[in-house]
Symmetry: D2
Subunit: 362 residues, 4 copies
């Protein structure tokens, strides 16, 4: 692991997720820029090999017979590229936090390096690893909803409802379109994952809801999807009072579905007559995509860490050489698409929210 020093929530989440199924050993890492606190944390975590420099780590881990199979990059956005690049070039698989990088050229370069080196590059859009999101994606692919006619996705969090001093609020580190990069990419990935559709054009209005803030903390987006259907994505970190706010509603000609991260072990399916059916993780009638992710059983709710562990479980399969499942972990291309999406929103915003054609993933 690179990053995830003391107090960094996302690094801690990665670690719990790796441990939960006992499939990973945290053997090496750099836990923040301060060497002393990094070493101290490493010690408390039982990490054997602590490094000061990621290039050094990449090189030496690649050289060891028992070197790291995969490294998690959980540093601030503007450092992702160089760090991920170093490991990929050393042939070590990388899990890199989103946004993959701060511009699409470097993101594409990472994808390219990963391909040429045969190294796996995965991006932890964790929400797609919830069992009920998997089931939703399967339902769409099974045609249970009919043709998709409209999608409304939102990641409207309240975590930064007031000004805070953090790198995500610094445009030079996190990017100006912070709301899109930080949470909008999650909403977009969820939309793409469940529907199997891509955006072909984007219109975005970026705004700053918190007075004095230097980044855009709110974004309302319109998409045209690859099947011609319209969609909306709303992303913000300034939705006062919201806990988390990731939610998606997919409307088909025959039915619609809704999933909310506040209640992740349920999926609501609505039929045209007005009746709603609430499916629960652990039901015996769910698709194998969801059923295989059941650890305890019906009535024992999944939390965020179980979803995160699902991501690492699927990644472990791939690291062991298995072919990725149809509905598996987000890859570098998904990460690239996220970065392209951020750029498209910036471009659209610069033209007063005009439509911008996009060819995501290429």
């Amino acid at each position: 692991m690179v990053g995830g020093g003391p107090g960094a929530m996302i690094g801690a989440a990665h670690r719990h997720a790796m441990w939960l199924d006992n499939q990973y050993i945290l053997a090496a890492g750099i836990f923040g820029r301060d060497a002393a606190s990094s070493a101290e944390l490493a010690h408390s975590l039982g990490v054997e090999r602590v490094y000061d420099d990621y290039r050094d780590m990449a090189e030496r881990e690649a050289d060891r017979d028992d070197g790291a199979d995969v490294v998690a990059v959980v540093t601030p956005n503007d450092t992702h590229f160089e760090i991920a690049k170093a490991f990929l070039e050393a042939g070590i698989a990388v899990v890199c936090e989103k946004p993959l990088t701060n511009d699409s050229n470097t993101a594409a370069e990472l994808v390219s390096i990963a391909e040429s080196r045969g190294a796996i590059l995965a991006v932890p859009h964790i929400y797609s690893a919830y069992a009920m999101v998997r089931h939703a994606a399967r339902m769409v692919r099974n045609g249970d909803l009919g043709r998709i006619r409209f999608v409304a996705a939102e990641h409207a969090s309240g975590w930064a409802w007031a000004e805070i001093d953090q790198w995500r609020m610094d445009p030079d580190i996190g990017g100006a379109a912070a709301a899109v990069g930080d949470v909008g990419t999650h909403a977009l990935h969820l939309l793409r994952y469940i529907t199997g559709l891509e955006a072909t054009r984007v219109s975005a209005e970026l705004s700053t809801l918190v007075p004095g803030r230097q980044v855009y903390d709110n974004a309302t987006m319109r998409l045209t999807l690859s099947n011609g259907a319209p969609a909306t994505v709303w992303a913000t970190m300034a939705a006062t009072g919201h806990e988390h706010g990731l939610r998606i509603r997919v409307f088909g000609d025959d039915a619609s579905l809704e999933w909310r991260h506040e209640d992740p072990q349920h999926l609501t399916v609505r039929d045209p007559g007005g009746g709603s059916t609430i499916l629960a993780h652990g039901m015996s009638t769910l698709s194998e995509d969801a059923a295989r992710l059941t650890r305890v059983g019906l009535g024992h709710p999944d939390g965020f860490l179980e979803a995160f562990a699902n991501f690492y479980l699927d990644l472990a399969e791939i690291l062991r050489g298995q072919t990725a499942r149809e509905l598996s972990v987000p890859t570098g291309v998904d990460g690239l698409i996220g970065v392209q999406f951020v750029e498209a929103t910036v471009a659209s915003h610069a033209e007063d929210a005009a439509w911008v054609e996009v060819a995501l993933g290429t």
Copy 2:
């Protein structure tokens, strides 16, 4: 009443609402274009004076000492103007269903006639008459939310999820921007009513979700509000599986609130720390705006007809000559704004969803 013949739900709703508080007597009307069925319905309703022609009705009711104080116009959209005009010119107050007319010139003319004749013109955006919506509006005016920073309103109904043969789906009768006219105007009014803000510009993407349909049954709108805050409005009748789908979330610097028509007697207030408080109609701590609309008490839910009756209660006060309350019934100007909003969305859509400046209500 003009319109509201056999099977017409909205006409029936008006009647129940008038009766509920025993403040109105339904004394005269034309219940549909078919004279025989109109007479039959009138008879079953105990209506004494049945007419064949609204001009005749307006003239004769105006002449009677015990003539109608107010007439409800619940006919298809394209007839509103002529009918409402006839009654207003006769000095009779009019409750006219939304959209007030099919173009802003005629809507403005109705407002003008009403003013010049001193006749009341009201538009039944009923949702603003729910007690908890009134309380929400009062909270905003009290400053409980701080500065409004973002609003997300939606009226995403599923009632026309598949093609149906109805005048609302005929662009010549209901207008091409059916989703905006039919439900979007409700969402806009709710937004304006609760926040006290107006839109200064609009961007709209209109689309048709149901194959083969002749009108736009889906509209995604961005607004810039008069305080500079961004807002979104989503309107559709083709949200497969939705019961009703009217919902508003208002985000302020200090708190946010949410109201949903599926659970109208509650109002959720969220504080920045992540806690939610659910207020219920009937609580002793509510504002007088909500408290005065309590008929039974805490725990006895309000339905749509109680809200509709609240509209008629407030109207009755005005008809008796009282000054309208601060938070009272929507007027002709509100109706005009709705029509202007429909036109703005059509104009924006014609320019690929470009921003259109608006001066609503003028």
Copy 3:
């Protein structure tokens, strides 16, 4: 109407319910013990004939050609018997609030008088008039749940969470088992109405939750139902923080259902696999029992007054001479059963919650 003076909520509810469908004219009444305020209220309600004494009213209304068809008795519990008796003996139908009387002998006498005089006696357990409760009752009769194996009903209101000065808290007027009489009888009726089962034995623990209170404000009851299934009923007015708290869950061998008064237009049906289906009033697939009670349509919620109006609609049919529907208004026998239930709980409580055999309704 007898009772329902200024400030009496339940009297007001009756009046709104009668008016809502324009099937009743409030023509005569005594609105409280104070003649002046009664007359004043009558005047404001447009009531033509005001009386001072219910015996006088019964006699004179019976004599008139246009005399009252039905009288609503909404006075304190200890006066129900004499008033209802006077009207029934005069051949006038009576709607009498529950508990019908304060002891089963007098309740049985009212039933007997009503029968011998051919006068209708109805008891407004209003909750059974909600469309979705009707649908639930139909589902059970259709066998959709299979054999009923357990029922949990509760009316756990918070309205009297602290001591208040009111006749319901005076054991001499409202009876000592206030929780059972005031709200427990509603829960019992709902259970009987939905399941079609009677209780054959009862065990009750009565307690006083609010310090210093003179009546039992809490009751936990066990029932054995006529098919042998166990059931529980919890009744209280001292459930701190509860809005209303009427809720029933019925478990069958094949499915279960739940209805809550806080959200009355929905009914949740649970299948054994763990999936829940939420049915909404207005759906086109509901039984005729529910469908016929739709005034506006899907997505326009019913409130308490619509349910109350349903009661009066059904009563109007019976008053016009129609045979009562299979699922219609509660009768005097239902009222008698409520009183017998109160007595059974008192008897059980006297023996430390021992089982008491009951033959309700006989």
Copy 4:
């Protein structure tokens, strides 16, 4: 670990919970009665030391310098006593699934052995380890609810809604009062943990809801609590259609609270006026008891395994020699109380649900 062979859900849950925080190494075990499959599972789990016999395991692990610090006993109920005894006598800490044993004498003996040997004995009533349950318990201790006046707890699961072939349905293995032992003890512990009150008498009606079943799968219980307040506990595995069904409502003189396992990261607090406040895990204003259990942050829901891991985190502190926190893991005494409760319900049932005095924990 003893038990938790292939397919045993609860054993798997223990393992995930131990791993999640990387505080435990699973070093030794017997995974079911079949030696071959036990060895195979041990191998796949990376367990170094596999045994055939628990006595042998207890002896040899006690002898090793690096022997097990704690063993989890997750076998069928009727084997708990002998296995737990063997390890406790060897001075090894034991986590023993509930019910601790099948009779209170043996349960008391385990408590006694644990004390005399200074070995820790813990019982995984996991639900008390949810952050929001901890917060609820703290609120009660802080006096936020005032005097507790009534408690309604239920664990009404649907997992055994139809007959199944499993040891829990065999009275000789799981005990006749299966509903009380399997789920009722969880509800009782939750009640005791949150309120800090004990039961002083119990009345129970046991019944069999599923035709042909040999055990009581349903139990309705009344308790009198140590402060004199009444309470009810409902326990069943045959609540058709229920997911899990653990829920508690605690009513105080000043407020009430509700927690449901279907939505474990929230806690609803109701004030007498009818307003509800929903608290969420991760809020900055929660008590330290809840705050310290936050791994990711507000909006990232806890699941069952996080709660289970909380149990093991707290246990790890104790194993390291720290004094147990005020609100920490359930102990052997809690397990003994569970068994005494089961016995009290059987005794009450034998007397037609008469009250039975109890002195739980002694």
